[in-house]
């Protein structure tokens, strides 16, 4: 084969790969939305229409379903508490990792990641027992604590790389210009890191929002949306499942989309 034809073949493979990846992500999302926005009768039909009929019957049935609004509100509250806790604990840890040398630093970093090494089902039973003993079972805070544990490694590692990207010189300059450590952090580091911290907070929110297992095991009355759906999945009709799925995916997609540019490039840091 001559060089141009090799290049053309390579191009085709590249395009095919890109198309496959796009389909991989978009096809399920498209199916979800088409079915969620179709009349219940159309959901089981095939072939699908590319543009859904925008029949809101499934969605309105879903939101009218007893317990859905409560579960949604629980999800929001748990995710919000998770977000606050994981940034409140994770960002200082990330700052410490990026700015200080202390004995056991590498071990600490390793342990932070290690928290993700234990499968949640392994921890769920002892956790449930412990939560019942301490009265944390079936509470927003209790579930948020578990979700914080899940989100914390990401919060620590994201903020660690975020703070590492801000030159120490900027902080030192602030110190020589009259700031103490806290003032320098608030006046110089925080404004520069804020978009990234917000992105990392949204990430924590989404982790909690999407988490099923702990939510299902640790809550009974105060179920989050994921746990609620899991519980009622077997007994609910197909249109309801799609509507629930869409209601779950939409906020996560929206949030990630909103902070996408901060996840890619933190402003001002590239050109100091």
């Amino acid at each position: 084969m001559s060089a141009p034809s090799v290049r053309r073949a390579g191009n085709r493979v590249f395009v095919a790969g890109v198309a496959l990846l796009i389909l991989w992500v978009l096809l399920p999302i498209w199916l979800l939305f088409v079915n969620a926005l179709s009349a219940p009768a159309e959901v089981t039909g095939f072939p699908k229409r590319f543009i859904p009929s925008f029949d809101l019957a499934s969605l309105s049935f879903f939101f009218g379903f007893s317990g859905v609004i409560d579960a949604l509100w629980n999800s929001v509250r748990v995710a919000a508490v998770t977000m606050v806790l994981s940034i409140g604990v994770g960002a200082p840890a990330g700052y410490a990792l990026s700015r200080f040398d202390f004995p056991g630093k590498e071990l600490f970093r390793f342990l932070v990641v290690m928290t993700r090494a234990f499968p949640l089902p392994l921890l769920a039973l002892p956790l449930a027992v412990m939560f019942i003993r301490t009265g944390l079972d079936d509470t927003i805070l209790g579930l948020a604590l578990v979700h914080t544990t899940l989100a914390l490694p990401f919060a620590v590692l994201i903020t660690y790389s975020l703070f590492s990207g801000i030159p120490l010189e900027l902080e030192e300059a602030a110190w020589t210009l009259g700031c103490n450590r806290v003032q320098a952090f608030i006046k110089v580091i925080l404004p520069l890191a804020a978009p990234g911290i917000a992105a990392s907070a949204v990430f924590a929110f989404v982790i909690s929002w999407n988490e099923v297992f702990a939510a299902a095991v640790l809550t009974v009355e105060n179920r989050t949306l994921t746990a609620f759906l899991l519980q009622s999945l077997d007994v609910s009709p197909l249109p309801l499942k799609f509507a629930g799925g869409a209601a779950l995916v939409l906020p996560a997609l929206f949030f990630i989309f909103a902070v996408r540019k901060y996840l890619f490039a933190m402003w001002g840091i590239a050109n100091r």
Partner: protein, 344 residues
């Protein structure tokens, strides 16, 4: 009014000793340059004076006040960093005003000082811009203006010109010298660039291996190096060194020539490349490379098997392989002790 006294300051990082018991006094309004190759401890010393690093032992006094236990903000210093450290989220105006606002100065005074220092650094038209919209040279000006606006007792500069291109560096060098002389602050300036050091300094502290080898005015450092290292580090090309064999008390034989020298057990002969006169007698040199540089010609030669450089008038154009004789100017010959590496 700020005299800086550094008393037996030492700094170790783990098993690495960055500074060995340094003593240095810098007079009020003096422009002191710390000069040395990278890793010689000059930046560490500057950061200890700034309070960004704590000395392992020793004391730092600024204006008669012991400051080594104080944080940077309480030392009456301002610093210009190598990468400028201009805050990217603030305008140039707010960058220059940053330290003044920390001092809770009223708005009128802030505006007055920012305007004045911005004019001094010729950046008054940039006050509304952000650092991302500035060139390297402009950021440098903002960093200097920010330090000057504090009206500090001491300005510390850590290689402030090293990231600028050659032409801009030359321009900023002259400007800095003028501005800092007018501001009447004591200045400590760290650089590895000997030309920068010579042109700016009232006094140069040449550092090597965590020690100050010589602290003297630029001409003294150039003419009378206190150590072999100073002669070999300062000057482009550096000093020539030749082995000398004793030939009676105070007499030394260098490359077959007799010279009057110090009375010592051993000595090394040294001469600057520009202090040589070509003639019929003198050190025999076999020409290796000839580099015409315009105003003069640089000759790389070999004298008794040792490398040797000479700067000659550009009218003289020898060819490689020629044998020349260089007569050293007698009052410019220096002698070093090969054991201690210090001047004899």
């Amino acid at each position: 009014m700020a005299v800086i006294e550094i008393k037996q300051v030492a700094k170790t990082f783990g098993s690495f000793t960055a500074l060995h018991s340094v003593d240095l006094t810098i007079a009020d309004q003096e422009f002191m340059v710390l000069l040395g190759a990278s890793g010689c401890g000059k930046t560490t010393l500057l950061r200890i004076i700034a309070g960004l690093e704590t000395p392992t032992t020793g004391e730092v006094w600024i204006g008669g006040r012991r400051v080594d236990h104080l944080p940077p903000r309480e030392r009456g210093i301002a610093m210009v960093f190598q990468n400028y450290a201009v805050f990217p989220h603030l305008t140039v105006f707010e960058n220059i005003a940053f330290g003044l606002r920390m001092k809770k100065m009223d708005q009128a005074e802030v505006t007055r000082r920012v305007t004045r220092t911005a004019e001094l650094m010729h950046i008054e038209q940039l006050l509304k811009r952000y650092s991302g919209e500035l060139s390297g040279g402009q950021r440098q000006r903002v960093a200097v203006a920010r330090a000057l606006a504090m009206e500090p007792d001491v300005i510390l500069m850590d290689e402030p010109l090293s990231n600028l291109d050659a032409l801009l560096r030359l321009e900023m060098r002259a400007e800095l010298k003028g501005v800092l002389a007018e501001s009447k602050t004591t200045t400590i300036y760290v650089t590895h660039d000997q030309v920068e050091a010579m042109s700016l300094a009232d006094r140069i502290s040449v550092m090597n291996g965590g020690r100050i080898v010589q602290a003297a005015n630029p001409v003294e450092v150039y003419r009378n190096p206190a150590a072999r290292f100073v002669g070999s580090f300062i000057g482009n090309p550096p000093m020539n060194f030749l082995a000398a064999t004793p030939a009676g008390p105070g007499k030394w034989q260098v490359a077959g020539q007799m010279f009057d020298g110090p009375v010592a057990a051993a000595a090394e002969f040294a001469i600057r490349p520009e202090d040589l006169h070509p003639g019929d007698t003198g050190l025999p040199a076999e020409v290796r490379v000839v580099e015409p540089l315009g105003p003069h010609t640089l000759i790389t030669a070999s004298v008794a098997g040792q490398p040797f450089r000479a700067i000659l008038d550009s009218t003289l154009l020898p060819a490689p392989g020629d044998l020349l004789h260089f007569a050293p100017a007698p009052d410019r010959i220096r002698w070093f002790d090969p054991a201690t590496q210090t001047a004899l």
